[in-house]
Structures are given as C-alpha cells and as structure tokens.
Amino acid sequence: MNPLLAQFLAEAADLLSQVDEGLLELERDPSDPELVNEVFRAAHTFKGSSGLFDFPELTRLTHAAEDLLDAVRSGKLSLDSGMTDDLLAAFDLIRGWLAHVTTHERLPATAGPAGQSLIVKLRGPLGGEQATVNPDVAAALAGPVIDRAPDWLALFDPEWLEKTATWLSSTSATMRFVRFTPDQGCFFRAEDPLHLVSQVPALAKLDLIQPFEWPPAEEYDEYACLIGFALATRAARGELDYLFRYVPDQIEIVELNGDAIHRYVAGEEPPQPRADEAVVAAVAQSHTENLELARDAHAILAAAQRSLALEGSVSGVRLSAVARSVAAAAAALGVPVDTADPDVETLKAQVANLLTEVRPTPADAPPTPPPPPPAERAPVDRGRADDPGGQVGTRILKVDQEKVDHLMELVGELNVAKNGLTFLADAAEEEFGSRVLSRRIKDQYSGLHRIAEELQAAVMDVRMLPLSVAFSRFPRLIRDLSRRLGKTVELVTEGEDTMADKDVIEALGDPLVHLVRNSLDHGIETSADREVAGKPPAARITLTAVADGDAVIVEIADDGRGIDPAKVKHKAYEKGLISEEELETLTDSDAVDLVFRPGFSTADQVSDLSGRGVGMDAVRASVEKLGGAVTMRSQLGRGTSTRLRLPLSMAVTQVMVVSVAGQRFGIPVDLVVETVRVPSAELGRVLHQDVVVLRGEVVPVIDLARALDMPWTPDPAADRAILIVSMHGQRVGLLVEQFHREVDVILKPMEGLLAYADEFSGTALLGDGLVLLVLNMKEVLSLAARAQ
C-alpha cells in the first residue's frame, strides 16, 4: 500500500471515531455549538483528504454529510435523531468501505448505489431550501445564464460559428462550449481525454488545442499529454458536469446563445481577456514551451490583480508580498519586471500590462527606476534564516501494531540473551576457575540489564493505550440497543484516561460488550417499570476504570433491578448446579456468584441481545485467561456492578518456577499465596483427598505430578514442598518437587501440538535457553479433580 493511502486510513479511523462520538454527544446536547463545529470539522477534514484518492463515492458521501452538518452549524437546521441516524449510517457505510480499501485498495463495487441512497437521505432535510440556496436550481428556473464568449472560441471555424449562431438565434436555443485542457501527466493516471470527449452527448463540433510548438520527434515524450480539446455540444450542463466530474479543474464550460456568438464573431464585444490565451502569447514571446507554467503564472498575476483591486489599503508587508509574487510570475513568463519598492499604482499597472498585453515586448514594459534587488527581505527574516526549520508542534508517529509487537519480542529475546550471561559467569568460575572473568561478566551483565530494563519499560510504554479506546464503542452500542429495547439509558464513563497495555485493552473488548449487553437486557428496566419502582425513568450505566498498582480495574455498574439471590439460588438448584443443602446455606453474595457457573442464565426469556446462555461463565473464563479476575455485587432493586481486575500489562508475566518430576513449570505469581514445607507425616487424607492443615484451615493438596500425568515418587523421608494458590477465593495446595525463583517472562501462546493442551497457558524462554511451560491453574485443578 502506498504510504499516503496508509496515512489516510489511519487518519480516517481517528476521524470516524471523532464523528461517532461527537454525533452521539450532540444528540444529547444539540445546542452545543462547539460540538457541532467539532463534528463538522472532522467530516470536513475527511472530505478533504478523501479527495486525494480516486474515491469519488466517498468524497460525495462525506460532502453530503458535511453539508448537512454545515446547515446545523449555521443554525439553519436543528439536528434530530433521524438526521443523527442517517449521519451515523453514512459513517458506518464509510467505515465498511474503508475496511474494503484496506484490503483491496479500492472501494467496493456497491459503493455507488449504497452511497447514493444515503446521499439522498442526507440531502433530504436540506431539500426544502435548495431551490433558493442552490444557484444551479435558481439558474434553471430563470433560464440559462448566458456567458460572455471566451476568446478560445477562436479555436472554432468562424464559418461554422456563424452558421451555428444563426441557427441558435432562430431557435432561441443555447449551446454549451467546453474547453478541456488535460494536464501533461494524465496518461499516467490512466486517463484518456479523447475517450471522455467521445462520450460527450450531442456533440456538435470538436476542435483541437495543439501545443504552440511541437517538440522535435527525437525529444517527443509519448506519455506526456500535449493536446487539449474544444467542443460544442447541445448536452445539458449537468450531463457535462457529470461526465467531466473527475477532471473539473481541466474543464471550462460556457453557455452561449446565438447573440453572444454573433457579437464575438463580429468583434463587437472584446472577448474576456482569458488567462490562458493571453499567456499563450506571452509564452510565444518568451519562448517558454510550457503552457502549464504560463497558465500558472497567469493565475498568480490574476490573483495579484484581484488583491490590489480588493481594497485601497494594500500596503506594507502585504504589498511587498504581492509584488514578489508578481515578480516571480513575470520572471517565469520570461518578461521580468522590477517590483521592488513598489507602490500600489505602479504595481497595478504592471500587472495589468502583463495580463492584457498580448505581445508585450521588453520595450513596452513600464519604466521604473532601478530599485534594489527584489530579493530584499525583511530584517526579521534574515536574522533567523539559519534557524533549523522542521519541527512544528508535537510530532506523533503512527506505528503499525505489528512493529511494536515485534519490538516487544526482540526485547524478550534480549532479556533471554542477557540472562545467558549469568550462566556464563557461573561457568567461567566453576569450569574455568576464573573469578576475575566471572566478575567482569557480571559487571557487563548488570550494565546490560539496566539498559534492557529501560528498553523494556520504553516499549511497554509505547504499547499503553487509554481505556477510552475500549470504552469508545459503548455510547453507540448503548444508544442502538436501548432504542431497540425501548429503554432509556444514560452512559457515564469515568477514568477513560487510565492506561493499560494494548493487548489488555483489546482483550477487554468482548467481555465488556457482553457485560454491558447483559445490563441493558436483564438489569435495566423499562422507563415505566422504573417509575413504578420510584426511580428516575432514565437508567444509568457507569463504566469506570482505575489503575490499581500493576492492575487496572474496570467496573460496569447499572442502577437496574439487581439480582435476586433467592431466584438465582432456586434456578441453580433447578438446573442441578447446587445441592439442596447449598440452596439453604449459600450467602447472598455467594448466590450472586452463581451466575458465573457454566450453563447458568438468569433471563426467563432469551433475547437476541445477550446471547443464549453462554453468558457470564464465558466472561469469567476470558478474563481469567488474561490473568484477571471478575467479581459481581448486586443489590436487589438497586443495581448490579461487575468488576474486572486485569494486569496492566500482559506482555510481561511474573511466574513462580517450580519443578515436578525433574521438569520446571511456571505458575502466575498472582495466584500464589505462599510456599510451605511440611513434614510428610503432616499430610492428612480426608475423603480420598490429601489435605494439609494450615493455621486451622483445611487445604486440599493436589499432586501436580499426578495431575500432569508425570511419574514421580517423592522421597518418603523428605519434607513436602507445597505451593498454596488461591482460585476464586479457594485455597489449594500443589505438591511439587522443588521451589525455584520468581522470574519475569514474556508469555507466548502455545503453538503446534501443545496448542490444544489446555493445562498450559503459554510458554516462555528462560535465560539458560530452556522453555518454561506456564500452567493454566484452572485447567490443572479440573484435571486433578477428574483424576481422582
């Protein structure tokens, strides 16, 4: 993909989310002019950038949206939810198109019709005013406006012009005359001007615009377009505009009737001094072969003329700026003039001369006193001319995620390589008996270690994103869903500036959506029900993020009907999830926790929103897979809040290394409560389950080797090493062979054959080059349960 398109897609993503966000806020507070302006601006920027690419449908659609927003901005229209819907739909459509562009580098084939129907909708609210506002329509009502004959009419055969004028006069008809001057590079853009011309409907006459001087055959560049066309047609203005819609800047269309042509042919009316032809003459004088250059020079001169005519007080810096541009244009035309130390009148005369004189010769140039060189600059400029240019404002670099991921991988490898040095230091001492070398290696190591740590922190920092990225989709989601459900819901977000690793943010997406949908679907009552319950009719969903040490806590709270613990217990009992005894003894908060049990669904009626029973258990599983935890609190009639606790960063995981049957495994440190060593005699057995009593609490002990199906018989005389972990508030002991240290590792997902081994959550490389398998404790425990 070319970098410009890549830049556009990146910018478009930002603009789209700005527009979405702004529109939703705007719907709530349509009177905020700053908000309207923001959305308008985003749409406008979008349109401007899209025009750089061959995406006419995209430009047209954004243009229609921009026009509607402009009308809102200027107070001509007030935004209603119908318009908001159309605008959102338009930007949704665009989002889809851009996804297509991302993979195919062009718009989908359906873009035209799909865009058109939305354009019609967007233009709808403006339609009432269009007759008075749109000059085209006004013109159509008043009959066509007859232009003045341009002097390029001379391209046509005078006899033919006479005949045509007579015919037009006798029929009171008009004709459109088009001048089409393609630019030199148009062949490279796969344009074929003659092909466009051949499609002009009702073509009456075609003529050529040839270069003043053809280049010699040996210098001829067959890929530079040197010719243009002049044509006359009875086709309507609109048809022509449409046909030439991609090349509007290369097209000039005039509407002429018989009289206008007669006057031109008879020479009664001096033709409008048209830029380009006057310039063509200048080109001839100066032997400049480049018609384009001359055209641009003319445009600059015309602009200068306009500036000078605008008001009487062009002076100071502005006058010298105009003078400089005139000098530059004149120089380009090969007829240099002196414009330094200018006064307005002299300059006006110079410009007029340059513009209108068909054949200016050096002798014709107005006499001016020899002034200082035109390049004289204001002293302010000169004093600072050597200052470095370049940096303006904050430079933000947009980087592909993959590159950052790759960087992170390299940091991981650097850490591994670095750790290798400690092994080398040991070897230097033990195998080669050199303590000095060993110490020097260790010195090297500590230097490297510091750099590697800083590098890792820096890369981690790059990966940090604000939670607002995860929250951004909810205003829209809640708006759409609450409408469908006929509920009124207000969303409050707090702490969206809290930062977390991008992987965490990404992984948060689905669980959050699930929880918010659940709230909307089950938690929140209809306005009527709420009023009966004495609550405000509009419900509220609050999304909060706070950083908590090396974790981030995200809470989704609603003020809905809450969870009825009795109902939940009963349901769980009906479904066979709890025993009759538990039905009696479970506390309310434990009862609420039942919703996380697999297969539990509280909704009596399954709606299409929150799914079909794959519910909270899936949320808990996915959060736990990230090394996080989910808890839920609910008050009947007051609402429910669900709290997700996630590590700030998933890139680096702290694991405790233990070994079993000679092999090392990692266990996430978050889960580890303590390590204990107990004499083997203290291990008890209750109901076929090994247990250990710790401070009065009976903790079940699982033989990790057995759970993992590894042969190992502990030395009966030795103390037992037991790692106590905590899962869902339950303590479990793991019988292991040996404890090792804690290490920071970069966890990689399981690949290949092991990808299906659920008991491992990933692999990590250790400094000595060994691969460490990190245990997924939840799976290990259920394996152990099955093994018994």
């Binding site: 750089l52 800047d249 250059l293 605008l310 204001a378 240019g389 303006v392």
Partner: protein, 128 residues
C-alpha cells in the same frame, strides 16, 4: 540558484493532506516543515524564515485566513509567498484569501505537478 533548499511550511489539519503536500514539495526540492493549524504555523513562522507557505483554509484553532493575516501582520511580517489551498470553491472564498494576503488560491486536490510548478515559480523569484 542557491544551494540551500528553499523552506516551505505546509499547514493543514489533515495529516493525509500534509503527507501529500510534503511528499510532492520534497520531490520538488523543498525543505518541508509541517503545522497542523494556523496557530502552529504562526509559531513556526516566528522562529523560522520560510520561503513559502502552503496553507489550508478550514482548520481548528486558527483558520487559514486568520493565519495568513497574522503572517502578514506586524507580529510576523513575512512577505514570503502564500498559497492557500481549500476544499471549497465558493464565490468570495478566493477574495477572502487575497484580502488576507495570500498570493494564490487553489482548490483541492491540487494537481501534483501544478503545486510543484507554482511553488518553484514563486520561490525562484525570491532566490533570483
């Protein structure tokens, strides 16, 4: 010809448009700096003497017209040529640009060759 590349400041709030203008002005032999709005442009112009400005009209914070006016005012006081480039082609827009002190008003998207040509033309006059 001077051996130093002329300095141009590209002012546009759309990063894509900035990249587009940067790329083609860089190819045309300019040293390119960027600013994302009129205010940044004015700040930049206060510390660096630019030989050319390419300025968008519709921008947040300070729009193109106000930006050009400030460039031409006592505050900055640069007579360097200003190209204004807008997405709009409404009657009166060009006049506003000229009244503010721009030297040429062009409508987006500007053909690459044309921009390069005009930019070179306007700065060649200065360097001469």
């Amino acid at each position: 010809m001077t051996d130093k590349r002329p300095k141009v400041l590209v002012v546009d709030d759309a990063a894509t448009v900035r990249l587009y203008h940067r790329t083609l002005l860089d190819n045309a032999g300019f040293e390119v700096a960027e600013a994302a709005n009129g205010l940044e442009a004015v700040e930049a112009a206060l510390s660096t003497a630019f030989d050319l400005f390419v300025i968008d009209v519709n921008m947040p914070k300070m729009d193109g017209y106000a930006c050009v006016e400030t460039l031409r005012s006592e505050t900055v006081g640069t007579p360097a040529p200003v190209l204004m480039i807008s997405t709009e082609d409404r009657p009166g827009d060009a006049d506003r640009a000229y009244a503010a002190g721009a030297n040429l008003y062009l409508v987006k998207p500007v053909d690459a060759e044309r921009l390069a040509r005009v930019a070179r033309m306007l700065t060649a006059g200065i360097a001469a």
